[in-house]
């Protein structure tokens, strides 16, 4: 390769050479910058500092106790909803399924958890039937309203029973419809309703990668 000769002796003498030098320096700087990896930009909203989640014990769809802190997986994706909800909740669950698929093998390191906002109607048996339509590997959690209220509060979930709709469904439940990425009992990334599943998967991968580095 024939690179232009650059020596101290001819640098000052030629305008052309000084232009070349400037060009080479800027190329060198550009290369240097591209070598140091740019920090990953999360699609979801990063909680800074991460929201600490108190440990809790709820009942899964099989009727077994589920302790959040003993969840063996590296990362959890947590969603709050109720089975009677036909629109937003299934949409979010479908996004979770797509994110899981996009993760490939990494999906094995992730728990997908649905916490009910309607414990009176979402018993484990009801949750089980609903979850089987989506993905039987998902974890559906119910429990006493008292225990759940503490969990909702830790995540900052708004839950309100709405009796005003005169629907055959009985009461409806208004609730926060975000997805939460939990790592080591801390909610680190929040995905608003409608976040693309590929973005969710990419963010999960970034957290999994950062765990490997540590």
């Amino acid at each position: 390769m024939n690179l232009p000769q650059l020596s101290l002796s001819n640098m000052g003498s030629s305008r052309r050479n000084s232009k070349l030098l400037a060009l080479m320096i800027s190329v060198a700087i550009a290369i240097a910058f591209s070598c140091t990896e740019a920090p990953y930009e999360f699609s979801g909203a990063v909680s800074d500092p991460p929201q600490v989640i108190g440990d809790f014990v709820l009942t899964d769809q099989y009727g077994d106790a589920f302790t959040m802190s003993s969840d063996a997986n590296d990362v959890s994706i947590v969603f709050f909803g109720y089975t009677l909800c036909p629109d937003v909740c299934p949409t979010t669950l479908a996004d979770m399924i797509k994110a899981k698929r996009a993760l490939g093998e990494d999906a094995e390191r992730v728990s997908f958890i649905w916490v009910t906002v309607d414990p009176e109607r979402d018993t484990p048996g009801v949750l089980k039937q609903r979850i089987e339509v989506f993905d039987p590997e998902f974890i559906g959690l119910s429990g006493s309203r008292e225990t759940l209220t503490k969990v909702w509060d830790d995540f900052g979930i708004f839950v309100e029973r709405d009796d005003s709709q005169n629907s055959a469904a009985g009461y409806l439940v208004s609730h926060t419809a975000n997805l939460y990425l939990v790592d080591n009992m801390r909610s680190k990334v929040v995905f608003p309703f409608g976040t693309h599943s590929d973005s969710i998967a990419a963010d999960i991968k970034a957290v999994l990668n950062s765990q490997e580095e540590n």
Partner: protein
């Protein structure tokens, strides 16, 4: 001569009156103009997968559950047996959602007032309880609202029913909806128009 004059006069009078009469005619009889009508067409109908969920008053920590009665895949009609739920207070509570696009290419406003089960599938009827709902999102909080009067479809406009917005809510569904299944529903509009739709079940 006089006769000719009268003839001419009458002709002239007729010539003057004729256009006036015609003008008069069109203005005094508005019934001649067609009344505005709505022209409804439905497209892109689809349904979400949904689970028939039987009521269940079981279920607090510590209780064990027999998996078998819950297994709906092979014996959907044989669920009553020993399921703790059947005698309990929980009614069937499975819900589903149907989405489609309504276009009104007419010149009169219309409104979707009712959706009903056509019960034509060999798989059996689906739901007797069908409502029109709208989801709204405020600061991340989802709120669902029953639309008592219906979904307005103004003249010349297209209204989209889609996830996170307007939808048809099926309640107490009598069979599970798996991807590939087909659902037939009737739509009744305020104008009297009735449309039949077939919605394929798919995972969005």
């Amino acid at each position: 001569m006089l006769r000719n004059r009268i003839k001419f006069g009458l002709l002239a009078l007729a010539a003057i009156l004729a256009p006036l009469l015609i003008a008069c005619n069109t203005e005094s009889e508005p019934t001649v103009t067609p009344e505005p009508v709505s022209a409804i067409s439905i497209s892109d109908a689809w349904a979400r997968p949904a689970a028939m969920v039987m009521g269940d008053d079981s279920a607090m920590p510590g209780m064990t559950m027999d998996d078998k009665p819950m297994d709906m895949d092979d014996k959907p009609m044989d669920m009553g047996g020993d399921m703790p739920a059947m005698g309990g207070h929980g009614p069937a509570s499975g819900t589903g959602a149907i989405y489609f696009t309504i276009e009104n290419s007419g010149d009169a406003d219309d409104m979707l007032v009712e959706v009903f089960d056509l019960m034509v599938e060999s798989a059996g009827d689906l739901s007797d309880v069908i409502e029109l709902h709208e989801t709204s999102m405020t600061d991340g909080v989802m709120k669902m609202q029953k639309l008592e009067t219906g979904i307005a479809v103004p003249a010349g406009e297209t209204v989209l029913l889609k996830p996170g917005g307007l939808h048809v809510m099926l309640m107490q569904i009598k069979r599970s909806l798996e991807p590939g299944d087909v659902v037939s529903l009737g739509l009744r509009f305020q104008s009297g128009t009735e449309e039949m739709i077939t919605a394929e079940v798919r995972q969005p």
